[in-house]
């Protein structure tokens, strides 16, 4: 079994998770031009929800993964609350920079709030392990969770694309993305569009949380910080605002990390990730699949 194939599977394993998270980042950015730093922490919210709901579902005789629907609802509610309580009031009075700072603040607030809630607590939890099988072809093996993550990411990517192209609310989202003032004039309820965007983005985080804990079964209150950074870099690399770009970026980051640790040194993995990011941004500032003239979803 070649080292090469093994490094590709590890890369896909990491990359598929980054891709899924990056979709949420890019989706929110595409609509309201806000880099939602709290997105990583929505994953933490999803992770803890799943920690409690998966065993509960299994007791009821339902499949464990179905608990993700509860997590989607919880995350969507948290996402909408964050928008209502923090982003919207700030957006009214401030500019893009104030929104960005609010996002960073929100991220810390969510992390620390989670630490302060006794049921969640500051201690890490080890959730139930789902999709715990490997598919072996000869000596080559890939985990079922990795395959499911890639398939789910692809389905979500296509689904989101169709949603923004074909549905009424999706078209409204693109309108808001292109010109908020004009959208208001066309009779679009901008606030409603934005809050739906947040609900969808946070819901995606719940799905990402499910796939993450299936491969790396531990939830901590700060798990979103590092994950969020890689996913954000993935989104930027692929072209922020572009859905296929987010997915491509995630997979590239995962494979670069894995390749560096296989062929060069684990300590250099992050160095290469950021080096590649810088090189890509120098050559193509909008990212690999990004459009140079104002971002559209």
């Amino acid at each position: 079994m070649s080292t090469f194939m093994q490094f590709i599977t590890t890369g896909l394993r990491l990359g598929s998770v980054y891709a899924l998270i990056a979709l949420g980042y890019t989706m929110v950015y595409g609509i309201i031009k806000l880099i939602n730093f709290a997105h990583g922490d929505f994953i933490m919210v999803g992770g803890y929800t799943l920690f409690f709901t998966i065993p509960a579902f299994m007791k009821l005789g339902l499949p464990g993964w179905a608990a993700v629907f509860i997590a989607i609802i919880v995350c969507a509610v948290v996402g909408m609350l964050v928008e209502l309580l923090a982003y919207r009031p700030v957006r009214k009075r401030g500019n893009n920079l104030t929104s960005l700072i609010t996002a960073i603040a929100m991220s810390f607030i969510l992390e620390n709030l989670a630490q302060a809630i006794p049921a969640i607590g500051p201690d890490p939890r080890v959730p139930y392990m789902l999709f715990n099988n490997d598919i072996k072809i000869g000596s080559f093996s890939i985990s079922v969770a990795t395959l499911i993550t890639i398939v789910v990411s692809a389905i979500i990517m296509i689904g989101l694309y169709q949603f923004t192209q074909k549905t009424k609310i999706g078209r409204a989202m693109r309108c808001v993305s292109e010109d908020k003032q004009a959208a208001v004039l066309m009779g679009i309820n901008v606030n409603k569009v934005i809050i739906i965007t947040f609900a969808i983005g946070a819901g995606l985080a719940a799905v990402a949380a499910l796939m993450y804990i299936a491969q790396y079964p531990k939830v901590t209150t700060t798990m979103g910080a590092t994950l969020g950074i890689y996913a954000f870099v993935s989104a930027v690399l692929g072209g922020i605002g572009s859905l296929p770009g987010a997915m491509l970026g995630g997979i590239i980051i995962g494979i670069v990390q894995s390749g560096t640790s296989t062929y060069i040194s684990s300590s250099m993995a992050d160095t290469f990730v950021y080096l590649i990011l810088i090189v890509v941004l120098m050559v193509k500032p909008a990212g690999i699949l990004g459009k140079n003239i104002g971002e559209k979803v």
Partner: protein
């Protein structure tokens, strides 16, 4: 990215400013502990009827098991000492009490903790649990004349240059030697190492293991490092172990990554040999996900300080029974080592006839004193590290069982 940058910057600035003050003052009190001892005997008789021991450890966070268990062990010892009439200094008896600080397993928090204890006038401190955190506070303890006994900071360098720093556990070079000797005795010839070069504990153990393996003529066929102790993916490292043909892989990591990540991923990568860790691997059973195929935890072994099954002395068997009565579970390493830290302080205070930092330090520095403790009977070497034995513990799983079992396999020692 911004978040990480900011926090790094902040930590860096804090650490720098604190080490800077520490270094300047370091030499002063350490140079004259003997002179102070005489006057301290009368002058520093503690106020009131209680002596407060500071206790620093990760009470919350990824390594919370360490801190909370050190605390349970220490509190049990204090309860027993107080019930037996307290610490006798001169002709007066003092009750013991603790002031607990949570360092969350973070070096900066750990520094804040010891500074808070120092400003509260506490001069006897137990802490912290990990080598990384403890190394951040040794110079403060030394320069402030505060005794520091770390129950489980195993890194060699912690006690070597700091007169005020002691420990109740063995050190990494000893632990690494025990591990290498085990590998040799069991006839493993192809050894691999997966470790974290950026961490004091992991890198220290790797160095000790490599050195001992070299002496014993073991062949290290592959060595791989991961970027941090919080790494989530070990697949590539173990792929290399498999392709190098390693039969035993030395894995100096903590339990928080062993259970969910390292062990299952090693098996998934096709490694079926022995995973041999050090004391950090203890408590891995608390981080095994439900729904995991438990057979992957077979052949996960580690060197440990202590095992209840192998507790033979009066003190250690009393410790096991009283602990089990009080907390309703069997004690682990950290309970025993935390318990021992209190016993050592009690003996030293009674010997010194004082609870003053400098006087107790002088008593602790006497290498002829034998401490009869829960984790064994030992005396300190010149650096303040106990000379004792280790235990080999292993996880195993029998098909059909609901959980893995942890068994003490044998006592390890180097001759």
């Amino acid at each position: 990215m911004k978040k990480r940058f900011l926090s790094v910057l902040l930590t860096g600035t804090l650490a720098l400013s604190l080490t800077a003050c520490g270094a300047a003052k370091e030499a002063a009190p350490a140079a004259e502990p003997a002179a102070e001892t005489a006057e301290a005997t009368e002058a520093a008789a503690p106020e009131g009827d209680t002596i407060t021991l500071g206790l620093i450890g990760p009470m919350t966070g990824s390594l919370a098991v360490y801190g909370t268990h050190i605390q349970s062990g220490a509190e049990l010892a204090i309860e027993q000492i107080n019930a037996d009439g307290g610490v006798k200094i001169g002709d007066k008896a003092y009750m013991l009490t603790t002031e607990v600080k949570d360092d969350q397993g973070d070096s900066t928090e750990c520094l804040n903790s010891i500074n808070a204890l120092v400003s509260d006038g506490i001069s006897l401190v137990i802490g912290s649990a990990t080598s990384g955190c403890t190394s951040a506070i040794t110079s403060v303890a030394n320069s402030e004349g505060v005794c520091l006994i770390t129950p489980s900071g195993t890194s060699d360098s912690l006690t070597t240059t700091m007169d005020y720093v002691f420990r109740t556990c063995f050190k990494d070079s000893f632990q690494g030697e025990l591990a290498a000797k085990y590998a040799k005795d069991e006839g493993f010839s192809k050894i691999g190492i997966v470790y974290c070069s950026a961490d004091t504990y992991s890198a220290g153990l790797r160095d000790a293991f490599t050195a001992a393996a070299g002496k014993l003529g073991l062949e290290i066929v592959a060595e791989e490092s991961v970027a941090s102790m919080a790494e989530v993916d070990y697949s590539n490292q173990f792929n290399k172990m498999v392709s190098a043909g390693a039969e035993l892989v030395f894995t100096p990591f903590y339990y928080d990554v062993m259970g969910p990540y390292l062990v299952p991923q090693a098996r998934q990568a096709g490694f079926s040999g022995v995973l041999l860790g050090a004391d950090g691997v203890d408590n891995t059973e608390t981080t095994i996900p439900d729904g995991m195929d438990l057979s992957v935890y077979n052949d996960v072994l580690f060197v440990n300080h202590y095992a209840t099954e192998l507790a033979t002395s009066d003190v250690s068997s009393k410790f096991v029974t009283t602990y089990t009565d009080k907390y309703g579970e069997t004690p682990n390493n950290f309970d025993a080592l935390g318990y021992d830290a209190v016993l050592v302080y009690k003996a030293a205070m009674e010997k010194a006839g004082s609870a003053d930092g400098a006087a107790v330090q002088a008593a602790l520095a006497d290498t002829s004193v034998v401490y009869d403790c829960a984790s064994g009977t030992f005396s300190f070497d010149e650096t303040g590290t106990p000379i004792k034995t280790g235990v080999l513990v292993g996880y195993s799983y029998e098909a059909g069982a609901s959980e893995v079992t942890k068994t003490a396999i044998k006592v390890l020692s180097v001759e």
